[in-house]
């Protein structure tokens, strides 16, 4: 064996035997350092004939390079082992609880309102706000309620004085909109309504309502149904269907109430739809011509529809909440269930 190969084999063996980073460093210095054994070997080149010298020099350098890469390789191995050893001492119990942040939570009514807004704004509707303490005329007369009509019995009203009341329905914005804007119109509101009713699980003196309406040329019941279908799909899923049933509200003619196919059981019948596969959502219809004419809107040219629904119904279905009062109690054990 020639002296280069002999030295290389020896160094290689020591590199592999080094178990610590500093031991490896020592081996590296001893063989590959400036005054290491390979440098010493290179100095013996003077004893060789001039013809042999280039080959000898080349062989020494090749051996050094090879060993250097072996050192690097071994060093990475040892570093990894060392890191693992140290890390093991830092092992923690990740079953211990994570830090708790203060996280803002939207009230479930707000969450529903925002989804409704997004759906209706997406359909080209403009948000409009009217007062909650409303003039009596906008709540009733402007909505075609005849004086002393039993339709008002559903709407036991809180009055402040002879002319002002707590609006019983968000439809009260209609008259205000017609006073300010001309058709074509697509308008909606979401807000509080009030009725002087006994409070129980499903009735409150306060509730939130959506009211949307549009007026344009040639608008009809099929457009109402189509828009409700689009709205219901946005709120409850693409497969949601809409069903009409005749109903009566003084401000629409024809009047209907509408139901959606139950999004929770796909028609199989469940607790939410009480086994009927349909969920009644609200009232709708074509805006009564008396209302349009009262604002000098030509009913031969312009027609419109309106629909309404209760906001609380949506989180009640979605989260299976069975008591309306929970929304206004604001118990932390209730609110913290919804990370909305």
């Amino acid at each position: 064996m020639n002296p280069i190969e002999e030295l290389r084999a020896k160094a290689e063996e020591e590199i592999e035997r080094a178990e610590q980073l500093d031991a490896l460093r020592a081996v590296e210095i001893r063989y590959l350092g400036k005054s290491g054994e390979f440098t010493a070997l290179l100095r013996t080149v003077g004893t060789l004939s001039p013809e042999e010298r280039p080959a000898f020099g080349k062989a020494v350098n090749e051996a050094k390079e090879q060993l250097q890469s072996l050192v690097e390789e071994r060093r990475s191995q040892l570093e990894l082992t060392e890191e693992r050893r140290v890390a093991e001492r830092e092992r923690i119990d990740l079953t211990m609880p994570g830090r708790r942040f203060r996280v803002g939570i939207r009230h479930p009514i707000t969450e529903a309102e925002e989804r409704i807004k997004a759906a209706l704004i997406g359909l080209g509707f403009e948000f409009f706000e009217g007062p909650e303490l409303e003039e009596a005329k906008y709540n009733f007369e402007a909505l075609n309620y005849p004086p002393d009509h039993p339709a008002m019995d559903d709407q036991d009203t809180f009055y402040v004085d002879d002319h002002r009341l707590m609006r019983t329905q968000c439809t009260a914005i209609q008259g205000r909109v017609f006073e300010q804007k001309q058709p074509p119109l697509r308008v909606f509101t979401v807000g509080r309504c009030y009725r002087n009713e006994a409070v129980d699980r499903t009735h409150g003196h306060t509730f939130h309502q959506v009211d949307a309406f549009m007026v344009d040329e040639g608008i009809n019941m099929a457009h109402l149904k189509g828009t409700l279908r689009a709205f219901a799909s946005a709120m409850f899923g693409a497969d949601t269907r809409v069903r009409f049933r005749p109903d009566y509200f003084p401000f629409v003619e024809p009047g209907v109430d509408y139901s959606i196919s139950c999004p929770f059981c796909a028609g199989a019948g469940c607790a939410v739809c009480k086994g009927t596969a349909w969920i009644e959502l609200g009232g709708a219809g074509l805006i009564h011509p008396n209302i349009l004419r009262a604002h000098d809107i030509d009913t031969e040219r312009w027609t419109g529809w309106a629909f309404g629904l209760g906001v609380e119904r949506i989180p009640m279905m979605q989260y299976q909440i069975d008591d309306l009062r929970l929304f206004y109690d604001n118990d932390s054990r209730f609110l913290e269930q919804f990370r909305a």
């Binding site: 830090r99 708790r100 942040f101 707000t110 909650e132 004086p147 809180f158 604001n330 932390s332 913290e336």
Partner: protein, 675 residues
Amino acid sequence: MRLTHEWVCEYVETVASPQEIADTLTMLGHEVEAIEQSDLGAVLAVKVTPNRGDCLSVLGIARELAASDPTRFQPTELMREAIRGWTLGDEATPLSATSVTIETPDLCPRYAARVWNEAPMQASADWMQARLVACGMRPINVIVDTTNYVMLELGQPLHAFDLDLLREERIVVRTARPGEKMRTLDGIEREFSTEMMLICDAERPVAVAGVMGGEETEVTQTTKRILLESAHFQPASVRRTRRALNLPTEASHRFERHVDPEGVVRALNRFALLLSQQTGVAQEPGVCDLYPGRSELQPVQVREARWNLLLGMEVPRAAAAASLNSIGMRVAETEEGLTATPPSWRADIAIEEDLVEEIGRLAGYENMPERLPEGSTPQGGESALTSLRTRARDAMLRLGFIEVVTHSLRAPSPLDAPCDPIRLRNPASPEVSVLRNSLLPGLADAARRQHDDSFFLFEVGRVFLPEAERVCIAGLMRGQLLPEHWRSGHAAEVDVFTLKGALQEVGARLHRLPAFEQSNDERFHPAKQARVVVAGQDVGVMGELSRLLVERMHLQPSLFAFEMDLTSLLELPEATPRYKPFSAFPHVRRDIAIEVPKDVPYAQIERLIRESAAGLLEEVWLFDVYEGKGIEEGKHSLGIAMTLRHMEKTLTDEEANEVRERVLQALASLGAKQR
């Protein structure tokens, strides 16, 4: 209204089950809310809409069923008899036993009566009692039961008087005289106002028209002769009287919703037949029938193009005509469509759209197509106020506040804003009696429902001030900044500066930075409160809630609250952010420690620093406040940090020190000494 299934089947022959009948009625617009069981089988609880008084009877419901599908629901002989009116042959004979005067024909268009000279006082037949019980009525005696039975069957309320107790044995229909009183059947003495319509005898009231009879002339065990009233009263008048007296009855419910004026004598005849069938007693021949307010319902035009347009589906003219005809209309064809004269029981049909609804309803809405509106699409979107509200809410949510929704109708509270709240004229209870003028009382209620000592709550909502409604945002907080955790134990406690920081964040989000100025609001700690001011205008209040008040309200101590008026804020200029270029060179930090009299406001110090270090000052912040040992009484030591940076070069230490000296010199004017 509750009706037995078997009774309905006496009017229409059908193989339909109670459930199928319920579904048919529901799809016709008469929602069957429940199918109950009784001794007579299924009972349908039908919700009749207020425009369809004609459906408050077996006859009315049967008419609707027959119109919806005449092959499935075939009218029986009894129904045909009902439609013919059970004519007894003596209708044209005037009744000699009594006389009727109508002083108010506009309020009482028709009044008819029959008389029995021997009143059988016995129980009604078992079958009649069974039906009344199943429909939710209590049997009393054959006279009262038969009036109730006819009302359920035909929708016409009847009232029986003891004829011997009517002075001069006659009836006068008139409005009440001032101060007139009567004891009604429920035993309550009632005083009437002069617009109320009464049924009177020669001297005094004997019934409230369309609402309830009087106790004195009631039919009793000793009654010998009876007068049976069947009338048509003006709906709105009955409603006003019923409401004023707070006396809802089965009769008033029907009269308010319009009772068929042409069915008045029919009901008298039906009563006579049923009474004679049960007791063998016959009526005196003749009817007293006054009909001064006879009015024909006017024919209504409906254009084919119009119903096709409004319904969004094609209904052939012949089908539309057949539909209208099936609900009792006299229909004639015109060039453009149809003319229909409504039957006497359909006073709700007055305009073209009413007929369109009937055509659509009978064609069935299930066949209606769905289309999205075409044509011009206006720009949708939020209003400016809603958008501001959403941004304010987002800011609070980012800060970790939990949103609550509290009642706007509530009891007055010590936390109300310092102005009288608007009161309800008809409060539901003391707890539901005023309109909130602040969100703070509701937040305090919510605070009581928190199950942790620490909470961050907020609400966005309307408050009602005497002059206007405003949208406000308010927050209430207490306890630890962060929830307790095993790594760090208790975190810092919330204080007024936490509140201020939160408001500054909200202000930044709304692009309207608030200032905080001295205030004097009794709801807050006298020395830890401020007015929130934007662009020189008051927009809110903030501070620690008054400890005394908190104690009196039994709330947890150390509560920090704010309320801000977003409606006002909207009117104030918005400082929309503009990009400012920043330097690529490193900054230099210089700290100063000064001893300064405590009555020098920090804001003044900071302002002076900003002025004197202008140009190079990037940020300035207070990092330490110390008083006590080593500091003169009445003074405190402030540690203030500044970062300095040049736009175009790296600052040298000398340049930075120079700024620091300049700042210290300027601060000397406030009595500040470097420590």
